[in-house]
Structures are given as structure tokens and as C-alpha cells.
């Protein structure tokens, strides 16, 4: 330790103390830390997907509040739960006039993000006697939630819900949607 001045020793001591403090703090936090958490939407709280909330105004906070130009929240049709109805209340605006083909003349989605096609061969004379696949185009959907509100008991099976796309979500510390969400449906949770 020759050549070390009093000043050096004090400096080392101070630095060592601060480093130890930082290390202790990291240790304390790391003991309870987990890998990754991300903003997630609880469909049981979201007014658009919550059962019983029907005929109320659609909440479009997820589409309007996100800091991204096109919201990181998207409607996802859980296909294992989809009824594949001929007249899907989330695809068609069932309050619109009936067109010449016997189907509602207008679609519900303002961005035309839902695709509809028959599964297998559909009899042109009896198109209702078939199942139809409804696929949401993730690049068009902005998470406005109208289809989510329309597809639930008793009109639909509730297969559509809003979800955060974790690859797009910037994981803001202070998620703008979560602050605006009237139902407090957003939480930062571990991703399974």
C-alpha cells in the first residue's frame, strides 16, 4: 500500500461504501425480482368484454390513448371459442339495413379489419348452413373494441377480447391507456 495518500484511502473507502450500498440495494430488489412483466388487460374488468355490460357505449380508450400511432392493443378472436356464426354480430352491424343477399348491409368494424370466409365449401343456395371463420387483421385493427362489445352473451359467445401485443407495446412506465382506463383493467403482470 505504499504510495497511497490519505486522500486515496478516503476515496477508496467512500467508493467502496457507495458500491456496497448499491450492491445491497440490487440484492434486495433482485431477491423478489422476476424475469419479465408487461402491461396486460384483464378481460373480466374491461367494459367491452365484461359480461353483463351490454348496450352501453363502447369504450375506445385503448385505441385513442396509446402513445403509438396505431395502438399496441388489438382485438383477438380466440378461434377455439368462436361460434363461427353465419351472421356474426361483431362482423356485421346488425342494426343496419338488410341488403339484397339477406345479410346486414354494413360492417361493424370502422377499419374493415375483420375477414370473413366460409369454412370448406358453402352451398350458394344455402349459405347459412355453414360455418364461417372470422379472422382479425392485426395490421388494421386499432383496438377500438366495438367487435368485443358486440360478441358476447347473449348475441355472441364472447370469443373476441382486447389484448396487448407485447411485441408492439413499448412497456411505458406510465402506460397512457392504463391511466385513462375507466375500469382499471390494466396491470403489469408476469407474462406466461
Amino acid at each position: 500500500m505504499s504510495g497511497m495518500t490519505r486522500r486515496d484511502v478516503l476515496g477508496h473507502a467512500a467508493r467502496g461504501t457507495v458500491l456496497a450500498g448499491l450492491g445491497g440495494m440490487c440484492g434486495f430488489l433482485a431477491v423478489k425480482a422476476r424475469g419479465t412483466d408487461a402491461w396486460q388487460l384483464d378481460p373480466g374488468k374491461c367494459v367491452n368484454s365484461r359480461l353483463g355490460a351490454l348496450g352501453v357505449d363502447v369504450c375506445e380508450s385503448c385505441a385513442s390513448e396509446c402513445v403509438l400511432g396505431l395502438s399496441a392493443v388489438r382485438a383477438v378472436n380466440e378461434l377455439s371459442q368462436c361460434g363461427r356464426c353465419y351472421v356474426c354480430p361483431a362482423y356485421y352491424d346488425v342494426t343496419s339495413a338488410v341488403g339484397p343477399d339477406g345479410l346486414p348491409s354494413e360492417k361493424l368494424c370502422p377499419r374493415d379489419a375483420i375477414e370473413r370466409y366460409p369454412i370448406g365449401w358453402a352451398d350458394p343456395d344455402d349459405p347459412a348452413n355453414n360455418y364461417y371463420e372470422y379472422v382479425i387483421d392485426e395490421t388494421l385493427c386499432n383496438g377500438c373494441g366495438r367487435c368485443v362489445m358486440a360478441c358476447k352473451e347473449p348475441y355472441g359467445l364472447g370469443s373476441i377480447r382486447l389484448e396487448v401485443r407485447h411485441d408492439l407495446c413499448l412497456d411505458c412506465n406510465r402506460c397512457a391507456i392504463s391511466t385513462a382506463c375507466p375500469e382499471d383493467a390494466y396491470e403489469r403482470l408476469p407474462v406466461s
Binding site: G11, A14, R15, L19, L22, M25, C26, F28, L29, A30, K32, A33, R34, G35, T36, V67, L68, G69, V76, E78, L79, S80, Q81, C82, G83, R84, C85, Y86, V87, P89, V94, T95, A97, V98, G102, P104, I119, G120, D126, A128, N129, N130, Y131, E133, V135, P154, Y155, G156, L157, E163, R165, H166, L168, C169, L170, D171, C172, N173, R174, V191
Partner: protein
């Protein structure tokens, strides 16, 4: 298949909706049809659920942060090159700023860490702990090398600074207290009861709107104003507002090595004092707490200019 015929009949009955009025639409099925019921070899398509940033990606970001800090220390303390410093700053501005869109950053992570310390139920991810602690540890060894070379918020101010004016030292000192006030407020808002808890640092981050090309009008105005002032006054956010800058200033006091202007390697001429836009050179010596390790002083030093092959003054 009788169930499907029945389904079709129900649907046909339901079809003629009255115009304009809510039709008596009722659901044709009670449960989702199974793959067998749909038939024709139908397989339910997989619903795409993208996962967040993978652990590997987070490790890469931490490694890049560590490497950038080491590089910044090397450039400012050993290589003493302004042009390399600018190159590193720009690279970090593009990666941590525009590409990673400003998140996660050590400045905002202060509040997560404080909340993690104060509240047992609140969990700070490993990634965020690393982001918070790396620049502080670097400051303990080499001074504020994060500010000068790595921080994208500093970098965006560094590039707009075209005509630096000298701020009177006393005014600089008074305004500099702002970052301590901001730090105290940030800690207060982090540990406040849930109803008042607010991640103010992220909320009032002036430059993240520019990194993301989106933002509310007041925040764009605030950021634009700071950049406008920053044309003439060096890094107003870093010197007077940044709460992480306050922590780094504190840590850099105990730094092992720091940016130094030495008679052996530089010229004792005082040109550097005039070149420093941050008022960090007192009597031709760099002040650790205020030095942002930008290497401008070396860029103005006749010795280094001559060594770089340029004109000496």
C-alpha cells in the same frame, strides 16, 4: 348432418332484419363448434400471441449499455477525442433513442427502484435494476460518462447546441438545484399512496415524444422549448432538471478517475474553459460533479488539435 341443417334453418329464420331497428338477433349456437363438428379436416388456427422482449434481447441491451459506458469512459478519459465522442453519442442516440424509442432508461427507472425498495409487493424486473445501476457504477469509477456518451436525452441536446453562451456561474448553481428538487419530487410521487402515485419522470420526459414521433401537444412544446433554449444554452435538461443527473453528480464525487485536464497532456492555456458549454471547468480543471464527459475541452485543446493533424488553434 342434422345439427348443421338446424343451425341453417335458425339463421334463415333470423335473416330478415327490420330496417334501422335493432333486430331480434339471437345466437345460433351455445358453444363453439368443435373441430369434429366443423368437419372436413378442419384444424383451429393458432391465435398469434407475441411475447415481450425476450431475455436474450434484454441481456443484449444491458451488454450494449455496459459497452457504451466503457467506450465512453475510454474516449473521454484516455483517448481524449471529441470526434469519437460525437460518434458514440450519435450511435447511442439512434439506438437507445430512436430505435429502442427511449425505453427503458435509467432516468425513469429511479422511480421504479424507489418504489421497489419502499413497497414489498412492487417488483422491479432484473432488466430495470441493471439499467438503473450500470451508469451509477460507471460514475463511481469514471465520472458522468453516461451523460456524455450514452444518454439519448443528453445526445439530442448535444447535437442541437450550435452557439453556446456562458451561463453566469451563480445562476447555473441556482438552477442546478432544480434537479435535486425534481429528484425529491420523483421519490415522493413514487412512494406516495396509490391514488397519488405517478411516474412523473416518464410523464414529463421532454424528448421521448421526438424519439417516438408521437406525443401530446404540451409535451412536444416542452421538448421543443428545451431544444430551442438548448441551441444556445448547453443541455438545460441535463444540468438543471435531470434527477438521474443529480445521482450521477453525487456518485461522480467519489469517482476513481474522471475527466481531467492535466498540464502534461494538455496545454494550460484556458481555451478549454471557454469551450466548455456546461460551466464545468473551474480554473482550468474539470469539476467532476458538473463535467458531462463530452470531450469538447479536448477538441479545443491546441495539443490535441495538433496531434489530430489540424490547425493548433
Amino acid at each position: 348432418m342434422p345439427p348443421r341443417v338446424l343451425l341453417g334453418l335458425i339463421c334463415l329464420v333470423l335473416l330478415p332484419f327490420p330496417t334501422g331497428a335493432q333486430p331480434d338477433y339471437s345466437r345460433p349456437v351455445d358453444v363453439a363448434p368443435s373441430e369434429d363438428a366443423i368437419g372436413e379436416g378442419y384444424v383451429t388456427p393458432v391465435v398469434q400471441r407475441p411475447l415481450p422482449l425476450s431475455a436474450a434481447r434484454q441481456l443484449l441491451d444491458l451488454a450494449l449499455l455496459g459497452a457504451a459506458l466503457a467506450l465512453s469512459a475510454w474516449i473521454a478519459l484516455r483517448r481524449r477525442s471529441r470526434s469519437l465522442g460525437v460518434a458514440l453519442t450519435l450511435a447511442c442516440l439512434f439506438y437507445f433513442g430512436f430505435y429502442r424509442e427511449g425505453c427503458v432508461c435509467p432516468i425513469g427507472s429511479i422511480q421504479n427502484v424507489v418504489l421497489g425498495l419502499a413497497e414489498p409487493a412492487y417488483v422491479v424486473p432484473y432488466f430495470v435494476i441493471g439499467i438503473f445501476v450500470l451508469p451509477l457504477a460507471a460514475a463511481l469509477f469514471f465520472g458522468r460518462v453516461f451523460c456524455g456518451g450514452v444518454c439519448p436525452l443528453g445526445a439530442i441536446q448535444e447535437v442541437v447546441l450550435v452557439r453556446p453562451v456562458t451561463v453566469p456561474p451563480r445562476l447555473d448553481r441556482v438552477l442546478g438545484a432544480g434537479k435535486w428538487v425534481y429528484l425529491a419530487a420523483a421519490v415522493g410521487f413514487a412512494v406516495a399512496p396509490l391514488a397519488y402515485r405517478d411516474f412523473v419522470i416518464c410523464r414529463f420526459d421532454p424528448f421521448v415524444s421526438f424519439f417516438r414521433f408521437t406525443g401530446t401537444f404540451p409535451m412536444l412544446l416542452f421538448g421543443g422549448l428545451l431544444l430551442g433554449v438548448g441551441l444556445f444554452v448547453g443541455r438545460p435538461y441535463c444540468r438543471w432538471l435531470c434527477p438521474y443527473g443529480a445521482l450521477l453528480a453525487l456518485a461522480s464525487r467519489y469517482a476513481w478517475r474522471s475527466v481531467s485536464i492535466t498540464p502534461g497532456r494538455e496545454l494550460d492555456c484556458g481555451l478549454c474553459s471557454r469551450a466548455c458549454p456546461y460551466g464545468a471547468i473551474d480554473e482550468m480543471r474539470a469539476v467532476r460533479e458538473r463535467c458531462l464527459a463530452c470531450s469538447r475541452c479536448y477538441g479545443s485543446c491546441p495539443v490535441h488539435r495538433a496531434a489530430a493533424g489540424g490547425p493548433a488553434s
